[in-house]
Symmetry: C2
Subunit: 241 residues, 2 copies
DNA sequence: TCAAAAGTGTTCCGAATACACCCATGC
DNA sequence: GCATGGGTGTATTCGGAACACTTTTGA
């Protein structure tokens, strides 16, 4: 079979139409962090195929829409949150990955501070639940592959870019930050050294606020300094944890 | 407008068909390395749209095929090479990126040792040429964006994974390797330190062969030790240059 | 003998590591 | 008081950077 080059299929519209027959979807690995564990938000499917199975948050993309807008829309419909941090990580295109047709899906991951998350009733989700990434159920479609690739990507990116902060509330203590990185990277850090390293980067604004109602000395609260981050990025700065 | 969830569009086939109308293509940033410079292989288009413009190596994906098979096929048709190193890096889906319809393209980059490259006559390419990444022409479609993202991805990945070796012949000297990394990263290295660092990784097999006919002391030849690399990778080893 | 690149050894400095120690709070 | 986590200082070690030096070849 001759497969003509992409942009030269002009002889007949019908020939082009043969190629314009893919479905496009977004599947989003929604990461959260609570109780010292990294979690993923999954949806229980209420329709065939894979009715009753757990699945990633995802949807078909309408021809008038694009990927990131679709991802924003579906995440807002589920959590009520706008402007969630989100990054594309990989595209999955196995021919038989979707039983109803040739659907290519683009994987995104997003990071949400889950205290803000409010479950929203939805026409297509029977229920949603946070799962620890250590105890995952079987997933619909090829979502286990997508999820694993998403976890792997997050673990790598979190070392070189300060994305981890997206998982914490806007004010946090250094020890909370350390605990987050320990959970993300499955690795222990030395407390004094972690503090020194992270403070030397000048990415944190110390606030004149402290923890309250804790049964130990209250810790100082910090905030991520986005302006400083953008300034450093321009000079070709590396995060490197 | 209600956009139903991806996997629940089952009421009417016609409804599903509305969503199965995307085109899918591959665009490949083919990197080579000669004369101390990193180069990219571009194609001169011989058809509308963008007739006469330079473009990335790319093609529509047929519904019976998948991305990596399509990328392999097109690269083989152009260079005669099989089993070229290739990795997916990003998916581009701007609504208006293709004048003939809604075509989403997946960016790959590949690394070829260009001595092996033989230009192949092709029905769709008027000519092909290697361009230094410092002197690029204007490109068709959104290929400039794809190319820049590809360069950026290569520069990042080359630091943390030993992919650079794919750009060298199977036998090379340490100084050739250093020159490659200097070109890739636009950064000078100290010769003794570079040698120490790279040899300590145990990724190179020293061969009992030497350069010939050079007007200076002949350098020892090395080969990339893929077995050793796979062994180290299992233990959770990081390349880190 | 000279140019050019191969290849080695050594010093120096800064950063990461490993600890030991003190502080503030609730119970 | 004591348990708990907050927070600081320091001695030591290790790795990277800088650089001087020797070796081998062709011309």
């Amino acid at each position: 079979m001759k497969t003509p080059n992409a942009y030269f299929v002009t002889e007949k519209p019908s020939k082009l139409n043969e190629y314009l027959s893919f479905g496009l979807s977004v599947d989003c690995v929604v990461f959260g962090y609570h109780e010292g564990e990294v979690k993923v938000l999954l949806v229980e499917r209420d329709e065939e195929p894979f009715k009753g199975s757990w699945a990633l948050v995802g949807d078909l993309v309408h021809p008038d829409s694009d990927l990131s807008a679709s991802a924003d829309r579906i995440l807002e419909s589920l959590t009520g949150l706008k402007d969630i941090f989100m990054e594309q990580f990989f595209t999955f295109d196995a021919i038989d990955r979707h039983p109803l047709g040739r659907v290519v899906t683009v994987g995104y991951y997003s990071l949400v501070e889950s205290e803000y998350y409010k479950p929203v009733a939805s026409s297509w989700a029977k229920s949603t639940k946070w799962f620890s990434i250590r105890e995952l159920p079987e997933l619909a479609f090829d979502h286990d592959i997508i999820l694993q690739k998403g976890i792997q990507t997050l673990k790598r990116r979190v070392r070189y870019r300060p994305v981890g902060f997206e998982l914490l509330p806007s004010k946090f203590t250094l020890y909370e930050l350390q605990a987050l990185y320990e959970a993300l990277l499955d690795q222990k850090f030395d407390k004094p050294n972690f503090r020194k390293k992270i403070l030397k980067m000048n990415l944190l604004k110390p606030l004149n606020e402290f923890q309250e109602n804790v049964s130990h000395r209250p810790a100082k609260l910090y905030a991520f300094d986005e302006e400083q981050y953008n300034a450093l990025k321009k000079e070709g700065f590396a995060f490197e944890l």
